[in-house]
Symmetry: C2
C-alpha cells in the first residue's frame, strides 16, 4: 500500500519562512502560538496521522462502511472508531476552536497543516470530523444562546460530530428547489420532514450524537433560494438545558456505493417530523449555510493537497527504486542491471509537476487560512476588510485548484508506476479514486468558478483581486534588485498586469452578456490559480534564499520554481485563449444539438 | 448504469465523407467491401454491441473475474462466455483476417468502427479477443508453415484466443531484463520456464485453448534486448499436424485486483518447462513482438475513443434531462421548475470538449487503420512506403492521444453529473476507472512519446511527419478559396509551419543532448496530436459542407470545429513553451533530490 511521511520540513518552510507565521501570529495576539508550541503540535500531529490514521487508509477502502437496513445504523471500517477516540483524547477537535466553548484558540494557520496531514493519511476517516467545524461556525455566528451552550461544547471536544444537510435527490447546486419542510410547533421547535442525500458522516458509530444542520422550507416561505431556513436537528434530542434525550426521528436510509472514499459514510438521511430548532432568521438559511460552506471549501482544498503530496511521495520513492532501462546519456549505475527511472527526463517532468503544484499549493492554501486569522484578530479594520475580500476571492481558487491539481498529481504519480499503478495493492489507484470526489463535493469546480467570476469579480467588483495584485506589486518592487529572483520578477509582473487586464475585459463583456461569465469562468479560475502560484513560487525562492536552510534545499526550491515558470505557468496561454474566445463559441449550437 | 448507442451516423460520416472509404477501398481491391456490405456489417455490429455486450458492462465490473487457487482456472463474469460464443457465431473474429486462414478479408477501415463499438459497449469483455489479432499477425509474418497451419485457423475463427507474454515483475518497458528461459529440446521444441505478469486474457473459460506468444531467452542469448526470442506456447499442446493434445505446463498463478476493467482477467502466468516453439529467428523476438505491439497500440487507442464516446453520450443525456438553476440570460423553460443544465455555458464547454476530441479522434484513429489497408493493398510502391512511414509516425500519437483524451473525456463527463457521477449506479465512474488503464498498458504515454521522438522523428528522420505535412499542405491549397473553411485554413497552415519548425529544432537539440528527447517527448506528442486533430476537423467541415447531410449536421460540425480551434487547439501554446524550455529545467536537480 502507499506510504505517508508527514512533510514537516516543507510545512515549516511554508509557515515560518514564506508566510512569516511567527511575527504574524504574535501581532494577531495568539500568545500561545509560539514556535515551540506550534512545532510541538505539528510533531504530535505528524505522529498521530502517520502511525494511527495512515495504516487504516487501505482497510477503509477495502472494507468500507456497512449499513444495517433493519436498524438504519452505519458501521465504520475496522479501527476507525478507535482512531477517532484517540483523536478526541488528543484534543484535536478543539485545536482552533473558541476557548469560550472549550477550544484551544490556536490559529487556523496551525489548523491547516494538521488538516493536510489528516487528509493525506486517511481522507475517508478525515471526513467524519470534517463538518463539525462548519456546524460549529454556523451555530457560533447564527445560533441562539441556548443552542450555542447546548451544542458547541460537545462539537468542540469531539463527543459529537456535525453534518451539513443541503442536497436532495433533485437538487444540489440549485438549493431553491429543496422540498424538505419545517412546520412550527407550539413549543418553538419545528417538525422537519424530508430526505437529504450525499450527507457526509450522516450516520456512524463513533459518537453518541450527530448534529445535523439542515436546510428546509417554512410553510409560508417565498419560492426559491430566498425561502430557505436553517435548522439544527440532532440525531438524539437535546433539550434547552443541553441534556441529551431520546432518539429523534432522523434515520439513515442508505449509504452510497462510490468510486472511492469507501471508508467515509455518504448517507441518505430521512427526517420524519424530526424535532429541529431554527438557527438564525427565518428564510435566511442560505446565508448561514454559506458560513459553513466557505470553511468546508477551504478544507476540501486541503484534501486535494494532502492526496497530491502522498501520491508524490510514493512516486518519488518508486522512481528512485525501480530499475528499468538506462539514462539517455549512458548508464548512471553501470554496476546495477539498469538505472532507476528517476534518471529519465519524462519521469522527472511528472515528479516536478507534482512537486511544483504540491509545494506551491501548500503556501496558497496556508495563506488563505492565515487570512481567517487576520479577519478574526487583526487590530486594524482596513487590514481585516482587505483580508476578508481577499479570502472571498481566494476561496474558490483554493478549493478548485487544489482539488483539480489533486486529480492531476494522483494521475501523474500513478503513471510513474506504469501498469503497477493500476493494481490495488500499490495503493496509488486508491489515491486517484479518492481524489476524484474533491472536485465534486462542496460545489464542483464549475460552481467555484461561477462564484469567483460572477460574485467575487463582478458583484464585489474584484476587491479581492485588487488586494492580491497589490501584494504582487509590493513583492516585485521589494525584490526588483534581488539577483536570486532575476528569472522570476519580470514574468511575474507581466502575468499580474495581464491578469488585471483580462479581468477588466471579462467584467466588461459579462456586463453586456451574462453567458460570458460561465463561458470564461473555469478557464479564468485556472488562469488565476496559476498566476497566484507563480507569486507564491517567487516568494518561496526569496524566502529560501533569505533563510539559513542548507544549499540543497535552496537549490530544490529555485529549480522547482524555474520548472514551474517555464513548464506549468505557460498553461495560462491556453486558458487565456479560451477566455478570449467568448461565449459565442459555446452558445452557437441550439440546446437540442447536445 | 451508463447507456450506449452506437454512433452509426458519425461513424459513417468519418468513413465515407471524411476518409472517402468507397473510392479508397475500391482502388485497393476490396471487392467485397461495397457500401452495402460495410453498412450491413456496421449495423449488425451496432446491434451486437448494444444489445449483447453493453448490458454486461456493469456486471463485469461488479462481479469481475474469479480465480480458483486449487486449479488455476479463471472464471469470467456471468454472461461473458455466452457473449463470446455469439461473437464467434457471428464471424466477428475473422472480419479482417486473411482469407487463406478462414478470414473474411475485409478492410481494417471496417474493423476499427466495430472495435470502437465493442470497446465502448464493454471494454473488459473486449480484452478477451483483443490480442488474438496480434498473435495472428506475429505468426502470419514470422511463424513457420506448420505454425501458421496449426494456430491461425482456430485463432481466426475464434475457437482459440491469443496473448502477448512480455512483462515480468521486474521489467516492463525494459524487456532486455527478462528472465524467462527457453531450453532447446531434441525434438525441436523448447522448454519454457519463467513467470509473466499482466497477461491480459492469460487464462479464462471461453475457449478450448489459449495461444501464448512469449518472450524468452535462449541459453546462449546475448545480454539485453538483442537476446530475446519469441515462442508460441499453447495452453493445450498442439502437434505439428494441428491436433490438440494434453495440457501444457502453463498455469495461471493469480489474477490482479485492479482499479477497473474488473471483467478482464489480468493474469500471472507461470511456465514450468512448458513446451514452446520458436517463432522467427533466434534472438530476433523483439522485432517480431513489435508486429503485435503496433497492432495492439492502435487497438488500445480505439479503447480510449470508445470510452470517451460512451461517456459523452451519457453526459449529454444527463445535461438535457437534469433540471437545475436557470439559464444566465433568464429562464429558458419557465414552465419547468428549472432549466436543463445544458443551457449553462460551462456545461457546454465540457460537452463540446468531449465532442471535439471524440469526433475528431474518430477520424484520426480510422485514418490510421486505412493506412494498414494501403500498406497491404496499394498497387503503387511509393504510396505503400509513404503510408508505412505515416502509420509509424501516427501509431504512438493515436495510442497516447486517444487514451489520454479518454481519461479527459471520462473526467468531464463524470463532472457533468456533479456528485452523482461519483456514485457507482450511474456508471460514469466505471468509465473513468476503466479508461485509466489505457494510458498504461501497451506502453505508457511516456513510452509512446519516446517512440515518436526518439525513433520516428530522429532515427527515421521524420519521414512520416513529412508525409503528413504534405497532406495538410495539399488540403490547404485545395480549400484556400473555400468560404466554408475561412476560419480554419490560415490557422491550420500556421500550425503546420510551426510544427515543422519545432520538429526541426527539437531534432537538432536532441542530437546534441539525448536528454532533450525525453524532456520534450510527451509535450511534443500532445502538440502533434492537437495539430493532427486541427487538420481532421478542418477536413470534417469540408466533408460536411460537400455532403448532402442536413443543415443541423453541418452546423454541428462547423461549430464544434470552431470550438476546437478557439478553445482546444491553443493548448499547443503551453506544450510549445514546455518543449522549448529544454532539458535543463528537468535535469538541473541531482537524482537524490527526488
Amino acid at each position: 500500500m502507499s506510504q505517508y511521511q508527514p512533510p514537516l520540513s516543507d510545512i515549516r518552510f511554508a509557515l515560518y519562512d514564506v508566510l512569516g507565521a511567527e511575527p504574524l501570529l504574535a501581532r494577531l495576539g495568539f500568545a500561545d502560538a509560539t514556535r515551540d508550541i506550534v512545532d510541538a503540535v505539528l510533531e504530535e500531529g505528524a505522529r498521530f496521522t502517520a502511525t494511527v490514521l495512515a495504516p487504516l487508509n487501505r482497510v477503509g477502502d477495502e472494507i468500507g462502511c456497512s449499513y444495517d437496513k433493519a436498524t438504519g445504523e452505519v458501521g465504520t471500517p475496522p479501527g476507525f472508531r478507535e482512531a477517532y477516540n484517540q483523536y478526541v483524547e488528543g484534543g484535536w477537535p478543539a485545536l482552533t476552536a473558541d476557548p469560550a466553548y472549550g477550544g484551544q484558540g490556536l490559529p487556523h494557520l496551525l489548523g491547516v497543516p494538521v488538516k493536510e496531514m489528516i487528509d493525506a493519511a486517511n481522507l475517508a476517516w478525515g471526513n467524519f470530523p470534517l463538518l463539525s467545524h462548519g456546524a460549529t461556525e454556523a451555530l457560533l455566528h447564527h445560533g441562539e444562546d441556548w443552542q450555542r451552550e447546548a451544542f458547541l461544547k460537545p462539537l468542540v471536544d469531539g463527543r459529537w460530530t456535525g453534518t451539513m444537510c443541503l442536497t436532495e435527490a433533485h437538487c444540489g447546486t440549485d438549493l431553491g428547489l429543496i422540498r424538505t419542510r419545517a412546520v412550527p410547533r407550539d413549543d418553538g421547535s419545528h417538525a422537519i420532514s424530508g430526505t437529504k442525500i450525499f450527507i457526509t458522516a450522516g450516520e456512524h458509530d463513533m459518537t453518541g450524537n450527530i448534529v445535523h444542520l439542515v436546510l428546509a422550507k417554512l410553510p409560508d416561505a417565498p419560492a426559491g433560494s430566498r425561502g430557505i431556513s436553517l435548522f439544527v436537528v440532532p440525531k438524539m434530542r437535546v433539550s434547552r438545558d443541553g441534556t441529551m434525550g431520546e432518539r429523534n426521528a432522523v434515520r439513515c436510509g442508505a449509504i452510497e456505493h462510490k468510486m472511492g472514499i469507501h471508508g467515509s459514510a455518504t448517507c441518505v438521511i430521512n427526517f420524519d417530523e424530526a424535532e429541529g430548532y431554527l438557527v438564525g432568521e427565518p428564510n435566511k438559511g442560505l446565508m448561514a449555510m454559506f458560513t459553513m460552506m466557505n470553511t468546508a471549501r477551504l478544507a476540501v482544498g486541503l484534501q486535494g493537497l494532502g492526496l497530491s503530496d502522498r501520491a508524490l511521495q510514493n512516486a518519488q520513492r518508486y522512481a528512485r527504486e525501480r530499475l528499468q532501462s538506462r539514462a539517455p546519456g549512458g548508464a548512471r549505475h553501470p554496476e546495477k542491471p539498469a538505472d532507476p527511472i528517476v534518471v529519465h527526463p519524462d519521469v522527472r517532468r511528472m515528479l516536478l509537476t507534482c512537486r511544483a503544484l504540491v509545494e506551491g499549493g501548500r503556501v496558497l492554501g496556508y495563506h488563505a487560512a492565515s487570512l481567517v486569522d487576520i479577519i478574526g484578530n487583526a487590530a486594524d479594520e482596513a487590514e481585516r476588510r482587505d483580508a476578508d475580500a481577499l479570502l472571498g476571492f481566494l476561496t474558490p481558487i483554493v478549493k478548485a485548484c487544489l482539488t483539480e491539481w489533486g486529480v492531476e498529481c494522483t494521475y501523474h504519480a500513478l503513471q510513474c508506476f506504469g501498469g503497477h499503478g493500476y493494481i490495488r495493492e500499490h495503493g496509488m489507484e486508491q489515491l486517484a479514486r479518492d481524489a476524484r470526489i474533491t472536485t465534486l463535493y462542496e460545489g464542483t469546480t464549475g460552481i467555484q468558478a461561477l462564484d469567483l467570476v460572477g460574485r467575487k469579480l463582478l458583484q464585489l467588483q474584484g476587491e479581492g483581486l485588487r488586494v492580491f495584485l497589490g501584494m504582487i506589486e509590493s513583492f516585485c518592487n521589494e525584490h526588483a534588485a534581488n539577483p536570486a529572483l532575476d528569472a522570476f520578477i519580470a514574468p511575474l509582473r507581466q502575468q499580474a498586469r495581464d491578469w488585471a487586464t483580462l479581468s477588466r475585459e471579462l467584467a466588461t463583456r459579462a456586463q453586456a452578456n451574462p453567458d460570458e461569465i460561465g463561458a470564461a469562468s473555469v478557464d479564468y479560475l485556472f488562469y488565476s490559480g496559476y498566476v497566484a502560484l507563480a507569486y507564491w513560487w517567487a516568494r518561496s525562492v526569496a524566502a529560501a534564499e533569505a533563510s539559513t536552510r542548507p544549499e540543497d534545499f535552496k537549490t530544490a526550491k529555485r529549480e522547482t520554481a524555474r520548472f514551474y515558470y517555464s513548464r506549468i505557468l505557460p498553461r495560462t496561454l491556453a486558458h487565456r485563449a479560451a477566455i478570449e474566445a467568448g461565449a459565442d463559441t459555446l452558445m452557437a449550437l441550439p440546446d437540442e444539438a447536445f
